[in-house]
C-alpha cells in the first residue's frame, strides 16, 4: 500500500482551543467576588439592623445568628446529618428512577404514552398535600422523606434525560449500526454520552429540589432533621436558631450542587456542550 504518496495538505488553519489556566484563574476571581459581596451584604445588614434597632425575634443581627450558631453547633450538626442523609438518598433514588423512566420513555413508545401523562400529573399534586398520607403509610422514619424527595426531584431528571437521549443525531446511530453495533453499544457509546449535558442539567435542578423535599418531609412529621429543628425553633420563637438552620441548609444545597457540577466536569460527554457553544459563537450552527 503506497500510502506515503498521498500527502494531502489541509488548506485551512485550525482554530486554537482556549487555554485552561486562564479558565481556572477566572473561576478563582469569581469566588473572590462572591466572598467579598457576601461580606459586604452581611456587614450592611448588621449595621442597618443595629441602627434601626430591629427586635431579635423578628430579624436577628448576623452576629446574633453567629452566636446562636456557636451555642447550638452540636444540635445543628446532628440534625444536618439526618437531613443530609434524606437529601442524598432521596436524590439518588430520584436520579436513578428518573433516568430509568427516561430510558423507558425513549425506547418503548407504548409505555411512554401511558407514563408521560402520569408523570406530568404527579407534578400537579402539591407534595405537601400528600406528605401526611405518606406519614400514615410509612411512619416517621426515613422512608416517607425519601419518597417526598423523590416525588419532588425526579421530574426534572426525567424531562432532561428524555430530551438528552432523544437529541442524538440519527445519522450517528445509522453509522454505528453499519459498524455492526448492538443496541447496547449504540446506547452507551453514542446515545448516553451525548445525553450527559442534558442529564446533568436535570440533576442540578434535582439536587436543589431534593433539599426542599427533605424539609417538606420533615415539616409534616419528623423527630430529627433541620426541618424539625426549624419547627422547634419557630415554636420557641428562637429566630436566631432558625436563621442558623437556614444558613446551614443553604450551605448544604450549595455544596451538593457543587458536587454534582464537579462530577459533570469529569464525565466525558460534557465536551458536547463546549462544542455546541463554540459552534454558536462561530455562527456555524
Amino acid at each position: 500500500m503506497n500510502r506515503s504518496q498521498t500527502t494531502l495538505e489541509p488548506h485551512e488553519a485550525p482554530p486554537r482551543p482556549p487555554s485552561r489556566p486562564r479558565r481556572r484563574r477566572r473561576s478563582l476571581r469569581v469566588l473572590i467576588e462572591i466572598v467579598v459581596a457576601l461580606t459586604v451584604l452581611t456587614a450592611a445588614a448588621e449595621v442597618i439592623l443595629r441602627i434601626m434597632e430591629v427586635k431579635t425575634f423578628l430579624v436577628p443581627k448576623p452576629t446574633t445568628v453567629a452566636q446562636s450558631f456557636a451555642d447550638n453547633w452540636y444540635v445543628l450538626w446532628t440534625n444536618s446529618l439526618v437531613t443530609l442523609k434524606e437529601v442524598v438518598l432521596g436524590f439518588l433514588v430520584a436520579a436513578s428512577g428518573g433516568f430509568l423512566l427516561a430510558v423507558v420513555i425513549v425506547y418503548i413508545p407504548v409505555l411512554s404514552r401511558i407514563l408521560y401523562p402520569l408523570i406530568v400529573a404527579s407534578q400537579t399534586i402539591p407534595k405537601i398535600a400528600i406528605a401526611p398520607l405518606l406519614i400514615v403509610w410509612f411512619g416517621f422514619g426515613l422512608t416517607p422523606k425519601i419518597i417526598v424527595v423523590f416525588l419532588i426531584a425526579f421530574f426534572p431528571v426525567v424531562i432532561a434525560s428524555t430530551v438528552g437521549l432523544r437529541a442524538v443525531d440519527e445519522n450517528m446511530l445509522h453509522l454505528v449500526r453499519s459498524m455492526g453495533a448492538s443496541g447496547l453499544q449504540a446506547f452507551h457509546k453514542v446515545r448516553l454520552v451525548n445525553a450527559v449535558p442534558s442529564i446533568f442539567s436535570g440533576l442540578k435542578i434535582a439536587i436543589t429540589l431534593a433539599v426542599v423535599g427533605a424539609i417538606v418531609g420533615e415539616f409534616v412529621g419528623a423527630d430529627a432533621g433541620l426541618g424539625y429543628l426549624l419547627l422547634i425553633a419557630n415554636g420557641q420563637l428562637d429566630t436566631p436558631l432558625m436563621f442558623a438552620a437556614v444558613v446551614v441548609l443553604s450551605i448544604m444545597g450549595i455544596v451538593l450542587f457543587g458536587i454534582v457540577s464537579a462530577v459533570e466536569q469529569i464525565t466525558p460527554g460534557h465536551l458536547r456542550d463546549q462544542t455546541a457553544a463554540e459552534e454558536v459563537s462561530a455562527g456555524t450552527l
Binding site: 500500500m1 503506497n2 500510502r3 506515503s4 504518496q5 498521498t6 500527502t7 494531502l8 495538505e9 489541509p10 488548506h11 485551512e12 488553519a13 485550525p14 482554530p15 486554537r16 482551543p17 443525531d169 445519522n171 450517528m172 445509522h174 453509522l175 454505528v176 449500526r177 453499519s178 459498524m179 455492526g180 453495533a181 453499544q185 457509546k189 453514542v190 454520552v193 451525548n194 466525558p268 460527554g269 460534557h270 465536551l271 458536547r272 463546549q274 462544542t275 463554540e278 459552534e279 456555524t284
Partner: protein, 273 residues
C-alpha cells in the same frame, strides 16, 4: 468476531477490488395516513466491483433513500438489493459510510473517532492504530490526532469522517453528499483527494451528489435520477482518462457530459428555461 482478513485487510501489496451491487426492481414506499408515498420506484441497476458510480438528481428525489437501502439501514419495500451475492437484509457491515455532516463524536478526539469503527467491530485496536495514524497523515491530519472535532475546520472534520469510513478497508464506500456543506475550494480539494485515495484502493463507491460537475469529475458512471419517485433516468459513462485534473473540467468532452445531464433535467422539468 470478524478477523481483519475477513474484512479484506491486507498488510501490504495491492488491495482486493470492491464488491458489485445489483438492484432488482427496488421500490420504497412510505405509508402515511393520507396514503402511501413512493420514494423510489422500480430501480434496476448494476454497480460493478471497483466502480465509482454517482447518483445525481434534484434535492429530495430519493437518492439518499436508495443509498440508505444499499447500506441496509432502511428496508426495501419491493425488489431486492444484492451486495456481492448476498441479499441486503439488515445493516451492511462491510462498508464505510460518509454523510454530509461529519457525524463525529464531539467528546472523542480525532484518533478515537476513527477508532470507534474498530472498537465497535471488536477488531484488534493495537493492530489498527498504526493504520489509523497513517491514513490520518495521508488525509493531511498529521499532528491533529489528539484534537477534538470542535478544534477543526469543516473540511478537516469531513476528512476525519472519511478516514473513519476507510480504516477497516471496506469493499464498499457509500457517500451521501459528503462535500455538500463545504466551501467551493475545499470541495475541489476533497474531490482531488478522494480520487487519489480511490485510485489506490479501488473500492466500489456509490456517491450521492447534486453537483453535476463533481459527479462527472469523480465517476466512472453517472446515474441520473428522476424527481420523486426516484427512477434511473439515464446512465452516462464518463470516458475521461484518470487521474483527472481540475483543468479537465474545462475540456470539451467534460462540457458535453454536463450538457447531456442538463438535457435530462430540462426534459424532466427539473430545470426550466
Amino acid at each position: 468476531m470478524e478477523s481483519a482478513e475477513a474484512i479484506g485487510l491486507k498488510d501490504g501489496g495491492a488491495h482486493a477490488a470492491g464488491i458489485p451491487i445489483t438492484y432488482r426492481g427496488v421500490t420504497k414506499t412510505y405509508g402515511s395516513e393520507e396514503g402511501s408515498v413512493t420514494a423510489v420506484q422500480d430501480v434496476s441497476a448494476e454497480v460493478g466491483a471497483a466502480e465509482f458510480v454517482s447518483l445525481v438528481g434534484p434535492s429530495g428525489c430519493g437518492k439518499t433513500t436508495l443509498l440508505m437501502m444499499t447500506a441496509g439501514l432502511k428496508p426495501v419495500s419491493r425488489g431486492e438489493i444484492l451486495v456481492g451475492d448476498r441479499r441486503v437484509q439488515g445493516p451492511q457491515t462491510d462498508c464505510g459510510i460518509v454523510f454530509q455532516d461529519p457525524t463525529l463524536l464531539p467528546w472523542r478526539n480525532v484518533l478515537d473517532n476513527v477508532m470507534l469503527q474498530i472498537e465497535i467491530r471488536r477488531l484488534d485496536k493495537e493492530r489498527f492504530r498504526p493504520r489509523a495514524l497513517s491514513l490520518l497523515e495521508s488525509a493531511g491530519l498529521a499532528g491533529f490526532e489528539g484534537s477534538h472535532p470542535h478544534e477543526l475546520s469543516g473540511g478537516m472534520r469531513q476528512r476525519v469522517s472519511l478516514v473513519r469510513a476507510l480504516i477497516h478497508e471496506p469493499q464498499l464506500l457509500l457517500m451521501d453528499e459528503p462535500f455538500g456543506a463545504l466551501d467551493a475550494i475545499t470541495r475541489d480539494q476533497m474531490n482531488i483527494d478522494i480520487q487519489k485515495l480511490w485510485l489506490e484502493r479501488r473500492q466500489t463507491v456509490l456517491f450521492v451528489t447534486h453537483s453535476v460537475s463533481e459527479a462527472i469529475f469523480l465517476s466512472d458512471r453517472v446515474l441520473v435520477i428522476s424527481p420523486r419517485p426516484a427512477r434511473v433516468d439515464k446512465e452516462i459513462v464518463v470516458d475521461l482518462r484518470r487521474p483527472r485534473t481540475l483543468a479537465d473540467r474545462e475540456s470539451p468532452r467534460f462540457g458535453e457530459l454536463v450538457r447531456e445531464i442538463r438535457e435530462v433535467f430540462l426534459s424532466r422539468g427539473v430545470l426550466k428555461q
